[in-house]
Point group: C2
Chain length 288, copies 2
Amino acid sequence: MELTKETKILIVGLGVIGGGYAAALTRQGYNVSCITLKQEDIDYAIANGIIKSGTTRTDERLIGEADLVVFALYPGVFINWIEKNQHMLKSGCIITDVTGVKGSVVYKVQGMLRSDVEFISAHPMAGRERSGVEYSNPDVFHGANYIVTPTDKNTEDAIKLAEELGNVLGFARISRLTPEEHDVMIAFLSQLTHCIAVTLMNSNRSAGLEKYTGDSFRDLTRIAKINDEMWSELFMLNRDALLSEMDAFAAEFNTFRNMLSDGDVQGMREKMQESTKRRSLFDKPKGV
Amino acid sequence: MELTKETKILIVGLGVIGGGYAAALTRQGYNVSCITLKQEDIDYAIANGIIKSGTTRTDERLIGEADLVVFALYPGVFINWIEKNQHMLKSGCIITDVTGVKGSVVYKVQGMLRSDVEFISAHPMAGRERSGVEYSNPDVFHGANYIVTPTDKNTEDAIKLAEELGNVLGFARISRLTPEEHDVMIAFLSQLTHCIAVTLMNSNRSAGLEKYTGDSFRDLTRIAKINDEMWSELFMLNRDALLSEMDAFAAEFNTFRNMLSDGDVQGMREKMQESTKRRSLFDKPKGV
């Protein structure tokens, strides 16, 4: 399947990510329809040019027509949807997702899915610290990374379709990882960072600190504004990998703490030189 | 002393902060002169309208004329400068600084200073992850916090002059703290955040992670690009307060880790709800 302006794309779940996908596709003239939970989100999205139409019903006709279905749901809700509604999907259609963990989702969905429908999983590495369609913004995809996580069950055609979707959405760098590689990577780059931000925000509760803060504290705690329902689910679905990254971080933090305690200035400076050098790899590509 | 366009202001040390001060004052028509180590920094600053003139010499005439001297130096260099050169200062002049720790600097400088010169210490809570005058930018002060740390030795006149300097530089919120209060606050808001960023950057060295990163990791490690000479000195000068904040953070992190390990979803969600609520206090004031 090629992704063209005629491809019937259905987005299920119009939150901050689903809304961003819808807006990016709609403004380029793609054929996008939408199913989501709340009528007010549909109303908002229509009023703001994010979608042309949408429904809160699990509309059998709409689902049965879609060539490409994007699930932008919490992992558990996504799996339940497939269990309950997969009979409505069009034979030969491709489904994809935006789920933040893969190992505990991809194999389960592929294992239960009808054999005439293909699920190719992907993860857009761009989000907002707020949830809801009113915070969606397709511009956050520009300069961001997009990861496709194929398994043995996937065809090269479906993988390429998912990659083409990432291209159309404006992602700067599109990669392939196995679900397992993805989950180890995400435990470090995303889940650990959220654990740290939450912890930092809660670790000193003195009153009035906001009067004195600089931007470094603001930056480190931006994501301490967090969707607790979604993130606790993601953490639990990737528990072993996340615990391993948390323990590695705690050990490294303790090493630095002991250097300070021992007055090992040279040791601290070497750690800082290493972090300075390594951080430059992570600068955003120029011009994005 | 009032701060007027006639006040002769001398900035000692033309780095990222001294350069920002100079630029902000020069563009408002204040009378600014400058002493710094490298001629190339003076050349750059003149070429970019940051200063009108400057010297690399410890110019006795220039120092002896200044009504207000701002020291934008590393703490140890600042203390040495005072020891060696304070005889050049004009009788009745006010000196201030931008040093990131206070308890170990303020009393020492005030204790050794001539009785006809007053030192009022202040800390602009705005920096850059890069050092050097070429990264200086007076706009970083807008919306930022500025803290004056008077002691019993300070006059209300000098405190007000330091506050007026903060105003002129464009800081949004100007506060007073004792040196001790400042150091406890800075250990948490600034020094701990830098320890965390350095640690996070160093705690997983897998190759190629930059291909997959999202903005949350970038935000949490922005300050892992760090001036190791300056920050290791600041950490050592505030060691006890920083160790105490590091230990509080490590304990809170361990609590969260054990919740995850135990599958305590409700506990994790409560931590996230707390951090979300508390983080909203730290949003930048609107319009800055």
